[in-house]
């Protein structure tokens, strides 16, 4: 998998997560227990002890422990199991919460940030955690020669210093989202920032790394000196890399593992019938899309782009390709799992007549070539065939070319003018748009170039008034929806399954796998 095309899925809030957190907050005191799903009632008392086994896909023999390199789901989870970030997020609201940083303040229009760090934390080898470790970690990832996947995220940082026992970060431009940027999963705090050995995995997290056989098996034992008592309930954790879908399901069905990830929609309903197994569908920020390059003929014509956007049956795609496990997209890359997301933009629907009208207006004749591959997303070829059939109703002739999965991200995506693709979620709307809609971004995979949009993006970034910010993001979403080359029919849910013996799962809007923190949050019942 391409390691820059961060493949880590993001997830959103669903009803069960809301109920679980409401219960935790005490709102459920008067509610009937019958209204709550079974796990919410059992969720009251974490039990300690036991050996948790997770069967995950997305691990490779080429994986290494340096958090700057983390890509697939396995290493994403491994990082959260041994490490801590300075800032964490609330599973329900997605706001920044203290972790190794106790509190923070900003000044100078969100340009200078001061983080007060915890003083009672020790690394797994017994040495105390100091401000210097945080400074070195952030420097290692943000150094201009760094190979860290977080480099792009941290480009706006000017200096990282220790000052008066606190961590002080200065930015080139004001950014109200800095604490959220520090929640990136690559930024696990390492002893001396990993400068001595980036692969040491000596962190402050709930479990200590015991053995690491990349692409095979990774084991952890409980960190007895954990600074946070409300996590890490089991004695030991074992991650088994099982990349084969059927093998993963067999491992769960036979009780050899407690949890598996990345189910296909087709298996979800079958698996939910099995006794002792619960399927988990978590709303996500990730989406499936078709990308047109707005600067390349014939896609440089907005009438043609609009015709194609109207010529796709989103409902049908959601139900057939995703088996209903997802939500409709509206051609802008943000949904309500993001903070300050617009809510009242009308949903674009399939309208062959309107599509035919715009297609005629565009003056384009002849077939349109769409490149596709199942590397783009699960079911991308099916989705493309469906799109082809939908468009035919509007008199638009889409020709499909199936590209090899190997090399799709190097040779097709962001290179060819019309192709299928996907994106995982990002922490904030600002990061989402900066990555793919800003004129100067190298990953502007729809070649959307609008100076007005760029200006609004920077304005929203430094804006500390939430209402003004929300209004700006709404306007930006409409610009992307109506003018860009992004066809976004569906947001996909993240599909996992667990044994009933594993309790305490929390749906986290931050990301899949309970935002990577499944091992620190769940416990086992006998």
């Amino acid at each position: 998998m391409n390691n820059k095309k961060a493949s880590i899925p993001q997830s959103g809030l669903n009803r069960r997560a809301f109920l679980a957190s409401a219960a935790a907050a005490g709102f459920a005191a008067t509610a009937s227990g019958l209204l709550l799903p079974r796990e919410s009632r059992a969720a009251d008392e974490p039990q300690r002890g036991g050996h948790l086994v997770l069967g995950l896909d997305g691990g490779q023999t080429t994986d290494i422990l340096d958090p700057g390199t983390y890509a697939g789901s396995t290493m994403f989870l491994v990082g959260f199991t041994w490490g801590d970030r300075l800032v964490t997020t609330d599973p329900v609201s997605g706001e920044a919460l203290p972790s190794l940083a106790e509190s923070w303040t900003s000044s100078d229009g969100a340009k200078t940030w001061t983080f007060k760090l915890r003083k009672d934390v020790r690394f797994h080898d017994g040495t105390p955690f100091t401000v210097n470790d945080a400074v070195q970690t952030l420097r290692r990832h943000s150094d201009k020669d760094s190979t860290s996947a977080a480099l792009g995220l941290l480009e706006e940082i000017e200096t990282i210093e220790e000052s008066g026992g606190d961590l002080v970060i200065t930015l080139k431009n004001g950014n109200a989202d800095l604490p959220l940027m520090l929640t990136d999963y690559h930024l696990q705090i390492q002893k001396n920032g990993g400068m001595d050995d980036p692969n040491s995995a000596i962190g402050t997290g709930p479990y200590k790394l015991e053995s690491f056989e990349p692409g095979i098996r990774i084991t952890f034992s409980k960190n007895e000196d954990d600074w946070n008592e409300d996590r890490g309930f089991v004695d030991s954790v074992e991650v088994l890399v099982i990349n084969d879908n059927t093998a993963r399901i067999a491992a769960l069905s036979s009780g050899k593992v407690h949890f598996i990830n990345t189910l296909s929609p087709k298996t979800m309903s079958l698996l939910s019938r099995a006794p002792n197994i619960e399927t988990i569908s978590t709303k996500g920020k990730g989406f499936y899309s078709f990308l047109m390059h707005g600067d390349t003929a014939p896609f440089d014509n907005n009438d043609l782009r609009m015709a194609l956007k109207l010529a796709i049956d989103r409902e049908a795609m959601l139900n057939t390709v995703l088996g209903g496990y997802g939500t409709l997209g509206n051609d802008y890359p943000v949904n309500d799992a993001y903070a300050l997301a617009p809510t009242d933009i009308p949903q674009r629907v399939y309208d062959p007549e309107e599509a035919a009208h715009y297609f005629k207006k565009s003056g384009h004749e002849g077939p349109i070539l769409l490149r596709t591959s199942d590397a783009a997303f699960t079911g991308a070829v099916d989705a493309s065939v469906l799109f082809q059939a939908n468009a035919k109703e509007a008199g638009i002739d889409i020709q499909l070319r199936r590209e090899p999965a190997d090399g799709y991200w190097s040779n097709v995506w962001n290179k060819k003018p019309f192709c299928a693709s996907y994106w995982g979620g990002r922490a904030t709307q600002d990061i989402r748009y900066t990555t793919t809609q800003l004129s100067t971004s190298t990953w502007n995979d729809t070649r959307f170039k609008d100076p007005e949009f760029d200006k609004m993006l920077l304005e929203a970034r430094a804006e500390t008034d939430q209402d003004k910010r929300r209004a700006l993001y709404r306007q930006m979403a409409i610009m992307v929806r109506d003018n860009s080359g992004l066809i976004l029919p569906v947001f996909n849910n993240y599909l996992n399954a667990r044994s009933v013996k594993m309790q305490g799962w929390i749906d986290d809007v931050g990301n899949d796998l309970s935002n990577g923190q499944i091992a620190s949050r769940v416990w086992l019942v006998s």
Binding site: N3, T62, E213, D244, A247, A250, S254, K256, W409, W443
Partner: protein
């Protein structure tokens, strides 16, 4: 494949015989074995060139894959220089070859680990799996083949044929899933996933790999069994077998003493091919059972264009294949009575 069925054709009357011809005439067996070994080394060299060239023409390269789409031309150039990719092809080939002669397969670009060490681990696992499967499959196949001949065209023969053909007709992943369904999901008796790791004892490892071993046995059994059966039946039709029968020895003894030794050569070849397959061709079984063998290691490396690993694995696979086929050839020569005694 081999041509050991031919008799060595020393040109007895051709004047004047050169020294090589004389050697061949005097030591037909030793010289044929020598030939095989030289041929094997030549083949290995040729395949090393093929592997190197083949990987060279793969689209995409590690620097681009590693750096992602945001890679600047300068960063790609730096990375290529670091890995010596800016050197000419021939220079790189000989550097690589020289390293391998010293047992050094280079360093993995993706993980920075020594390729030799990683291959050693993985190869050990692959050999364990293949070895366990072979220890069961080979005697079983030959035994069943003999039984099938003994009860030729009777119920037992038909049954053995039917079952083994059915097993070989099913794709290996399907056999694997069937075994998992029955012995893991429905009747949880076997270990799963079959992941082995360093801290396990040999006994624990063997217990863990029961299912993949069973799958492999089912997959390779039919081929060897049918070849045994066919080869022996072929020999059974010859005059000396009739003589054996006429002099009154039992059917089993006739097969074991007289037919089997003369039918060995083709059987050995089929066994060698199947052993090679067990080591180099079982990536699907490895994936399904989550077994850390060579196949998965190589496939992962190909995905990220980790060339030293791909080249190393490719060469090891080629070497195993050549070695096993060479051994089969040599064994065929050794068991050929006509070659055992120089004329």
């Amino acid at each position: 494949m081999t041509d050991t069925q031919q008799t060595p054709s020393a040109p007895v009357d051709a004047p004047p015989p050169g020294p090589i011809v004389v050697m061949r005439a005097r030591f037909p067996m030793a010289s044929r074995i020598g030939e095989r070994i030289v041929l094997g080394i030549g083949l290995l060299l040729a395949s090393s060139i093929l592997i190197f060239a083949g990987i060279e023409i793969l689209p995409g390269d590690f620097a681009e894959t590693y750096l992602g789409q945001a890679a600047t031309p300068q960063a790609i150039a730096n990375l290529r220089a670091e890995f010596g990719l800016d050197q000419p092809l021939v220079t790189r080939y000989f550097d690589w070859l020289l390293g391998i002669l010293h047992g050094d397969f280079g360093t993995s670009w993706a993980s920075g680990q020594s390729v030799s060490g990683q291959i050693a681990d993985r190869l050990g696992n692959s050999l364990l799996l293949a070895g366990a499967a072979a220890v069961i499959a080979v005697p079983l196949a030959i035994g069943l083949g003999l039984v099938a001949v003994l009860y030729r065209d009777r119920l037992i023969d038909r049954l053995i044929n039917l079952v083994s053909l059915a097993a070989v007709s099913l794709p290996e992943f399907f056999v694997a899933y069937l075994l998992i369904m029955v012995f893991v999901v429905q009747h949880p008796v076997a270990a799963f996933p079959a992941t082995v790791y360093d801290s396990m004892s040999l006994w624990e490892k063997l217990q863990t790999i029961i299912l993949p071993v069973a799958t492999l046995v089912l997959v390779v059994l039919a081929h060897m069994m049918r070849m045994t059966r066919a080869a022996i039946i072929n020999v059974m039709a010859s005059a000396y077998m009739e003589t054996a029968e006429l002099k009154g020895i039992g059917a089993l003894r006739a097969i074991v003493r007289h037919a089997a030794p003369n039918a060995l050569a083709p059987i050995i070849n089929v066994i060698a091919l199947n052993l090679a397959y067990l080591i180099v061709g079982v990536v699907v079984v490895e994936v399904v059972f989550v077994y850390p063998g060579m196949g998965q290691y190589m496939v992962d490396a190909v995905t990220v264009r980790d060339l030293p690993v791909v080249q190393g694995c490719g060469l090891v696979f080629a070497a195993i294949y050549i070695l096993l086929n060479m051994t089969a050839d040599i064994l065929s020569i050794l068991v050929n009575p006509r070659l055992r005694h120089p004329r």
